[in-house]
């Protein structure tokens, strides 16, 4: 706003972390209520944010409301610190709050995430903030909010059980792979946001505080530390997570979630850690994978996960 503008224009200033203090107080009250009733969706007066709805406004509002000057913030999208939206949200808080940021999971006090939970186990005192597109786990079974609120009130989750059963009847297994519904502390069925079901077990009995913000849908919910989170299943069809056949091509990790990267148009592909911090940490410790061999452990990896891209001069975000 350095350019001369019409004289009647008000001066444009923003508060610490963008939101005004009244709004933060309103959001904090919603968060406290959410923590008191684990898994329950608390309506809150979500604000317009300077990024679009559906791009993490719920998570950003929750983070803005809990962020203090001495917090260290990590922002990931798809497990990576370097995806466009993670970069944008991290720089938003760098600009509006001036807080320290990090890519290292264990150094962060607040982790805002979209679609993943980091591989490294979270610690007590850490808070993970999930961006949620559709907070209502029953939404695709029942489009009406009035009806789904009633179903939650009565703990009537028959619809969901029938859906999962129909999956098994039709496919032989439950055909939900992400946003896999969970039951929190034996009461509310909750949408864990579109994390792969691979990450669901990490929510159970976690020492960290887990907060969920849905901006467009105006809901906040929470899982307090050390809360029981159970993925829905049947006795004869127990919940199972995805397993990958091959280890990470860069760090050799197994038992982690992998991204498939297509290498050419003849079907060549590689699998690498979705959690870039986890991968970089392992590479720094000397772990290697099959694709890191020709370049040596140190040279190839940063090209994939480093902050600099060598493309994009034409303006297209790849």
């Amino acid at each position: 706003m350095n350019a001369p503008v019409a004289s009647s224009m008000p001066a444009i200033t923003y508060n610490f972390a963008y939101l005004d203090e009244q709004t933060k107080r309103m959001i904090r009250r919603a968060i406290l209520k959410a923590i008191a009733i684990p898994g329950y969706q608390v309506p809150f007066a979500s604000r317009e944010m300077p990024m679009p709805y559906g791009w993490g406004t719920g998570g950003v509002q929750v983070t803005a409301a809990i962020l203090g000057a001495d917090d260290v913030l990590k922002v990931i999208d798809q497990g990576s610190d370097d995806t466009t939206n993670a970069v944008a949200i991290r720089s938003f808080f760098e600009t509006t709050a001036g807080v320290a940021t990090t890519t290292r999971t264990q150094d962060a006090t607040i982790i805002q995430t979209r679609h993943r939970i980091p591989e490294a186990e979270l610690k007590a005192g850490q808070t993970i903030v999930f961006q949620v597109p559709i907070p209502e786990p029953l939404r695709y079974l029942e489009p009406r909010e009035t009806e789904t609120r009633r179903l939650h009130g009565l703990a009537d989750y028959g619809l969901m059980q029938v859906k999962l059963y129909e999956d098994i009847a039709r496919h032989g297994h439950i055909a939900t792979t992400y946003a896999y519904p969970v039951k929190v502390e034996g009461r509310y069925v909750m949408d864990p946001s579109p994390i792969p079901k691979f990450d669901n077990p990490k929510m159970n009995d976690s020492p960290a505080l887990q907060l969920f913000g849905a901006g467009r849908e105006k809901r906040i919910y929470a899982i307090p530390p050390y809360t029981q989170v159970v993925s829905l299943d049947f006795e004869d069809h127990p919940f199972k997570v995805q397993a990958f056949r091959q280890p990470c091509a860069l760090c050799g990790a197994t038992g982690v979630y992998l991204d498939e990267v297509i290498l050419d148009d003849r079907g060549k592909r590689m699998f690498v850690c979705s959690d870039t911090d986890h991968c970089a940490t392992r590479q720094a410790e000397g772990h290697t994978g099959e694709m890191s061999a020709p370049y040596g452990a140190g040279a190839a990896a940063p090209a994939l996960h480093g902050a600099e891209s060598h493309r994009g001069t034409d303006g297209a975000i790849p």
Binding site: V5, A6, S8, M9, I12, Y14, Y18, D20, T23, P43, F44, A45, S46, R47, E48, M49, P52, Y53, G54, W55, T57, D77, S80, T83, T84, N85, A86, V87, A88, H115, R116, P133, E145, T146, G172, P194, P196, F198, R216, K218, R219, Q242, Y257, D259, E260, V261, I262, L263, M270, S274, A303, A307, E308, S309, R311, G312, D314, G315, I317, P318
Partner: protein, 397 residues
């Protein structure tokens, strides 16, 4: 080459630099000024103020410039700024009956107290491209003679009497305010005197809920519905209103009145004990008059749909009135049969800032979820391929 999968701060910086360049356009052409946007693209500014829920012409013009003319993007900018503003109070209700009229028409009466005032309107213009406007030079058509609407100067000579409507159209746009002395009672008030139309809902003193400070909850009462519609997307409401005209929850509407002009906004100052004028805003109001056959408790009478929008936007105000009336089906004992009557459907989807955000978020990476789906579909395909062989085996046995 797989570097391309990740974002990268440099790529984003470059993209934004290119955006800034594209926004500026050809640099040999002078930069467009906010006064030009505000003055010459005033209906775009009106729309951004209305759907951005922020009455500030300069900020709306800035938003339009910054958004390269993308009005929904500009509305988004206005909203994201508005939401940070402190609230120091709520104004007194504005009195549209005391509006200083720039335009006022009724489709239900040929003439009426205060008359039909056409004002600045595209209605009755011939939609012919006027090539004389394709210039920014001094020989641009003069608005003094009514030129520049595709009409040609010979048809709009000063003092010419319009053949449309019962009043002579003014020879040149009147400075605002000169008509303010004429009494312009609202058409619905005229009908109300005879008891032919339902009354305006009485003010029971309950402060209306504030959509921007509370989450939308259903069922929504009429003040809340009208709030949502007032900031709702013009195109969405237009289509819904249109659908009611085409038989999807038909309400048999007439435009009782459309009025556009300026009203005074006042704030009750606690310290002073009376209302203090803050300034004036431009509003468009539409009151539709709709059929109602009567019910067990109510005699047959006309019912109302209501639209009120910042600035001049008759299309939006009319659409809003149609949809408002449709959403009232329950209180009027009508059958529910169409989307325009469904408040959850209408109110959940009318906000274009929410809608565009969620639609466009599909551009964000989804490869974690897609990976999960890839894995699933491969497994299911493998199972499907394995299955027929078992069938053959069974058949052979």
């Amino acid at each position: 080459m797989y570097v391309a999968v990740k974002g990268g701060e440099a790529a984003i910086r470059n993209a934004h630099a290119l955006l800034a360049k594209k926004r500026r356009g050809e640099e040999s052409v002078p930069e467009i000024g906010l006064d030009q946007i505000s003055g010459q693209l005033s209906l775009a500014v009106d729309r951004v103020m209305a759907e951005g829920s922020l009455y500030d012409r300069d900020l709306a013009a800035l938003a339009i410039k910054q958004a390269r003319g993308d009005l929904i993007e500009a509305i988004f900018l206005a909203r994201a700024f508005r939401t940070t503003l402190p609230r120091f109070g709520a104004s007194e209700p504005v009195d549209t009956g005391a509006m200083r009229i720039a335009r006022r028409i009724s489709a239900t009466f040929k003439d009426l107290p205060g008359g039909q005032v056409l004002g600045p309107t595209f209605d009755y213009t011939h939609r012919l491209m006027d090539e004389r406007l394709a210039t920014n030079a001094a020989d641009a058509p003069s608005p003094r003679g009514g030129e520049g609407w595709g009409e040609g100067p010979e048809r709009r000579e000063p003092g010419a009497v319009s053949t449309v409507g019962s009043l002579p159209s003014p020879p040149a746009p009147l400075p605002q305010g000169e008509r303010g002395v004429v009494q312009m009672p609202r058409v619905t008030d005229l009908l109300g005197d005879e008891g032919l139309i339902e009354g305006s809902p009485a003010d029971d003193g309950t402060p209306p809920r504030d959509l921007t400070r509370e989450p939308l909850a259903f069922p929504a009462d009429r003040p809340l519905r009208l709030q949502a519609l007032a900031r709702g997307d013009e195109g969405f409401l237009l289509a819904l209103g249109y659908s009611t005209q085409r038989g999807y929850a038909r309400t048999h509407p007439f435009v009782g009145e459309i009025r556009f002009g300026t009203v005074e906004v006042s704030l009750h100052a606690e310290e002073l004990g009376f209302a203090v004028p803050l300034g004036e805003i431009e509003l468009t109001e539409c009151q539709s008059v709709n059929q109602f056959k009567g019910s067990a408790s109510e005699p047959p009478q006309f019912t109302r749909g209501y639209g009120l929008v910042f600035g001049q936007s008759e299309r939006k105000a009319m659409s809003m009135a149609l949809v408002d009336r449709s959403l009232r089906f329950k209180e009027l004992g009508e059958e529910k049969s169409a989307p325009a009557q469904d408040e959850e459907f209408v109110l959940s989807h009318c906000d274009n800032v929410q809608a565009t955000g969620f639609v466009e978020h599909l551009k964000l990476p989804h490869y974690v979820d897609f990976q999960a789906e890839l894995d699933l579909i491969r497994r299911m395909r493998a199972e499907a391929e394995a299955a027929p062989r078992e069938d053959l085996k069974e058949a052979a046995e």
